[in-house]
């Protein structure tokens, strides 16, 4: 018995749509045609950004009002904690001035690039984790303010991530916790020749791993790991990336198994600094 005509047309429709989708994915993946899809994305983001800002400006105060009303006690406690933290930081700041002066002299002597020398722009975070499958944020600065792909983003105590897509008035920053994120790190004393590795994200909200650290390398819990300035100078050296949460060494294995947490508090990002750092060629 021949199939009804509508059924055949239905199958043809889905086949065509699947083929078009696969063609679009191929265009996006190929280096030669990627600029077409990225141009479309850029245009769409530039159109959508003001709409998002407008809606957020209306919706956020309402949401904040209810959140504040429901969680008043928690907010008060958080406020007290923040006041205490500011007090501690002010104490540390006054004590650290002398050390800083010394450090600056050493840096100048060794001709090392250090973070305060890099110009930066402060951006507001407009969206957090656009997709359930990526650890990323969207910021409100783009190519019009000099923010381009590959620039490091810092804030809240360390490296936040790297700009991976840049549009005219907005950009997407892939966080260090994203599964695709890999950062070369160093730790320990400057004389240690094996104190380096590569930190790799494991997805939003999950601990990161540090790979390639050789067995018997001196390591301690809570130790801070910094960018090594390697990878062709993709990131400037000395930015705090992660803190050692746990590690264990199994005899016979070629590396230490290290779990780290980001030094930056990635769950509460309101503003970040984009370092206008051009990776060296």
């Amino acid at each position: 018995m021949p199939r009804p005509r509508r059924s055949r047309r239905t199958w043809v429709t889905i086949a065509i749509l699947v083929l078009i989708s696969i063609t679009i994915i191929t265009l996006d993946e190929r280096a030669g045609t990627h600029h077409i899809t990225s141009g479309l994305k850029s245009f769409a983001n530039d159109v959508f950004s003001p709409v998002r800002s407008g809606v957020n400006a209306v919706v956020d105060p309402i949401g904040n009002f209810f959140a504040g009303a429901v969680n008043y006690r928690g907010l008060q406690e958080q406020n007290n904690q923040l006041r205490a933290t500011i007090g501690r930081l002010e104490e540390q700041q006054s004590g650290a001035n002398y050390t800083q002066r010394e450090q600056q002299q050493i840096d100048e002597l060794q001709h090392l690039p250090f973070l305060p020398g890099i110009s930066k722009v402060t951006a507001g975070v407009t969206s957090y984790q656009l997709s359930n499958f990526d650890a990323d944020i969207q910021i409100d600065l783009g190519t019009s303010r000099g923010v381009t792909t590959g620039m490091p983003v810092v804030g809240n105590g360390g490296l936040v991530g790297v700009v991976t897509q840049s549009y005219r008035n907005s950009a997407i920053v892939t966080l260090v916790t994203d599964g695709q994120s890999k950062v070369g790190v160093v730790f320990g004393p400057a004389t240690c020749t094996t104190c380096w590795g590569i930190s790799q994200g494991q997805g939003p909200g999950q601990q990161m791993n540090v790979n390639l650290v050789q067995p018997n390398t001196a390591l301690s819990k809570g130790e801070i790991m910094y960018t090594n300035g390697g990878q062709g100078g993709a990131l400037p050296p000395g930015i705090p990336v992660a803190k050692v949460a746990s590690y264990h060494q199994v005899s016979g294995e070629s590396q230490i198994s290290i779990h780290v947490t980001p030094t930056a508090n990635l769950s509460e990002l309101a503003y970040v600094d984009v370092l206008l750092w051009e990776p060296s060629a």
Binding site: I24, L27, E29, S131, Q180
Partner: protein
């Protein structure tokens, strides 16, 4: 579909897109947020059948892809397949679904779960390995449950866009027709 229906569908996609990428991103449960755009092909499949489900899924997917850093076209592929599958299942059981009010939420639950997993697997195949590293159980649960709860409302809205009354409206229209026929007799 006529021009008016296409325009209404376009407006519905834009509206849901704005809700998803403003309020929707702030609604976070166990680290995952709902995927309201996925609800559109499901509702279109329920209301309009496989062809309209697939076409709506493609349009909603392209709109989503424009704002996401994930591979362009991936959402369009997954959403059109989901819209088609939902429409096909609903068409197949069309004669037996009268009175089963829970069928639409159940279909939305299953379709959403399947769509999230398909999205993650296809993403990993395309080189986005991080997509299978996330807490997939949490994402599937949040997206599926929220879509199941909102599916009756989404079907109503889709019914308006496609000019096809859904659920109680359809039943009340039938009752009205029957009463009119009785009065004529």
């Amino acid at each position: 579909m006529n021009g008016r229906e296409v325009f209404r569908l376009f407006m519905l996609i834009v509206l849901v897109l704005i809700i998803q990428y403003t309020v929707g991103l702030d609604l976070r449960i166990a680290g995952a947020h709902p995927d309201l755009m996925l609800l559109l092909p499901i509702a279109a499949g329920v209301v309009g059948g496989p062809e309209i489900g697939a076409a709506t899924g493609f349009a909603a997917g392209i709109a989503t892809d424009l704002l996401l850093p994930t591979p362009f076209g991936l959402s369009a592929l997954v959403y059109s397949m989901v819209g088609f599958a939902v429409g096909y299942v609903m068409d197949a059981g069309a004669s037996r679904r009268e009175g089963f009010w829970w069928l639409t939420p159940l279909i939305a639950l299953a379709a959403s779960g399947a769509a999230v997993m398909l999205y993650a697997v296809l993403g990993a195949v395309l080189g986005q390995e991080q997509m299978v590293k996330v807490d997939l159980a949490a994402v599937v649960t949040v997206v599926a449950v929220v879509n199941a709860v909102l599916s009756p409302l989404a079907c109503r809205m889709m019914g308006w866009a496609l000019d096809r009354p859904v659920g109680s409206r359809r039943r009340s229209r039938r009752r009205l027709m029957a009463r009119r026929l009785d009065s004529v007799r």
